[in-house]
């Protein structure tokens, strides 16, 4: 980036930051995200018990799980394990799956979107064809078909959740690259003899940063919900590992006698998804001063 470009980028970032911290919904979302990330990182320190330990006193005399109380704050699950500890450790799994598959999907999207946007000709035609084909796939059906033939586990979940998710952001990146490359400073860089690689990484890529940040923040909660669905079908994270979705899956069998097992992780999912969405919406508004629809009428 030239000094002038860097200066204007920094000014834009500073303005975005000021808008963001003044937006109380975005601020609340950011604090929520911070809370869940801290919880995931510090899980062993915060959780009262080992999440997989089956407490003898965790089940009643007839083998029923304990309701929330003094000893087990959030109650126990069907195997007498401490629900709070499982939810806290599940935060690690659910967040990791959400973040890692979003990073993979966006990485692929950047690579393909940049290539298709910057290099016209057969490469662009071919890539756009692939993007549109993947977008028209019934992705949930194919995700299930994929899960059914692969061994079950966290990495398969990560793979399945990213394998179709790159197509939409790739098209968005493609469109953005097209519009950025029409601007004068790109012509100027080319006229000064910059190579394709230099133009792409020094001049085009920085312009995509806001788009990527916003899309990432909004992609993570969507992935968290998808992981929960897969785990709920028994096709996601496998026991004894806890994720928010797998806890609901295990609790669903006893939804009448022990409702706290499914209610608590569901509420936690909602808290995390809402936090990420608030932060993402706030970031979008902050980066784009023209989109003020949300601020006019609350969240």
């Amino acid at each position: 980036m030239t000094d002038a470009a860097r200066q204007s980028f920094l000014t834009a970032s500073a303005r975005a930051w000021r808008t963001l911290v003044r937006d109380r919904f975005a601020l609340a979302g950011g604090l929520g995200v911070l809370f869940f990330v801290t919880l995931a990182v510090l899980a062993p320190l915060v959780a009262p018990y080992n999440p997989n330990f089956q407490h003898a006193q965790g089940l009643s005399a007839v083998g029923a799980p304990r309701a929330p109380g003094a000893e087990f704050v959030a109650g126990t699950d069907l195997l007498g394990r401490d629900l709070l500890s499982r939810v806290i450790f599940g935060t690690r799994v659910s967040l990791a799956v959400g973040v890692i598959s979003s990073v993979i999907a966006l990485g692929v999207a950047l690579l393909i979107g940049l290539t298709a946007g910057y290099f016209p000709g057969p490469a662009r035609t071919g890539l756009l064809w692939i993007i549109n084909a993947v977008l028209s796939f019934p992705s949930l059906l194919l995700m299930l078909a994929l899960v059914s033939v692969l061994p079950r586990g966290i990495w398969v979940v990560v793979f399945v959740l990213s394998v179709f998710a790159w197509a939409y952001p790739a098209r968005v990146v493609y469109g953005e690259v097209l519009s950025v490359t029409k601007r004068e400073f790109i012509d100027a860089a080319r006229a000064m003899g910059a190579s394709s690689g230099r133009v792409l990484f020094q001049h085009v890529l920085p312009q995509l940063v806001p788009l990527i940040v916003v899309y990432f923040t909004l992609r993570v909660p969507a992935t968290i919900l998808q992981e929960a669905s897969l785990s709920f079908l028994g096709l996601g994270v496998q026991p004894p590992t806890a994720s928010w979705g797998s806890i609901i899956y295990e609790g669903a069998r006893a939804y009448r006698s022990a409702p706290w097992i499914f209610v608590i992780p569901g509420a936690i999912i909602a808290g995390a998804v809402v936090s990420f969405n608030l932060l993402g919406d706030g970031l979008r508004d902050a980066f784009d001063p023209t989109s003020s629809v949300r601020r006019r009428g609350g969240p």
Binding site: S136, L141, L142, A228
Partner: protein
Amino acid sequence: MIARLVGILLLLWVVSTVTFLLMFAVPQDPGAAIAGPQATPQVTENIRKLLGLDQPLYVQYGRYLWRLLHGDLGRSYVFGRPVSELIASHLGPSFQLALACIIAEAGIGLPVGILSAARQGTRFDRVAMMATLITLGLPHFWIGLFLLYVVGARLGWLPIGGYGDFRHLILPALAVGVAYAGWYARVIRSTLLDILARDYVHTARSKGLRERSVLVRHALRNALIPVVTMWGLDFANFASGLVVIEAVFGWPGIGAQMVEAVLRFDVPLAMGTVLVGALIVGVVNLALDLVYPLLDPRLRQAD
């Protein structure tokens, strides 16, 4: 139009090939799966021959495509009946549920969104938008479980799942409706606010029309266009299998059938459900393209 039809056929071909290859990669041998654990190797071998599983991959693939062109989706390994027949018996419940779900989501979402736009900035608007934010953050199957627990088990007002009369439809449709109504509320609200700032709305107002008339006759009719797209896409997705909700409520739709086929390694049935699902999505999208120009005269001139 013809390009769209070719597109759908191409998509179906790609999907059928992908599912064929995926199912072929299943580590478990379907011959052994059908024969059961007590079968002698000879019996298993005979079953494999009968199904053509001893043939090379490309022969099996060729035969599969050839039968597909004749509307033959093969025979289920588990049920021993034609796949087309099995799927057909689940299509009815799937379409019923999909219809109930899109009615529920629009029935909840649109009134909320329209009121929010009409009373923009008021307390109602803020509370409604906050509520959509929260419901959009909840997994739809969780809402289903919650409704089952409260309305089905505790209050005992409605049956706790299964297939039957109208009452069995209410809870699953409500679960999906509550989960996705937020999108409808938000889209109709922001589209309406957008339209209310346009010139023809100013014109309508300056003619002295009442606010209600401006909102309903001039703004709402145009604001419904993006909603119709969402409706169509949702209907296609729901009809091609509301996998998780059908699992929660024990609803015998094509989604539940697919999960069962996948878990039991019933290769032809699983491929059939995915293909039929893809077909439903394609056909509904095509129908949407046809309906659009009828709704929006601006699109008619483009042709």
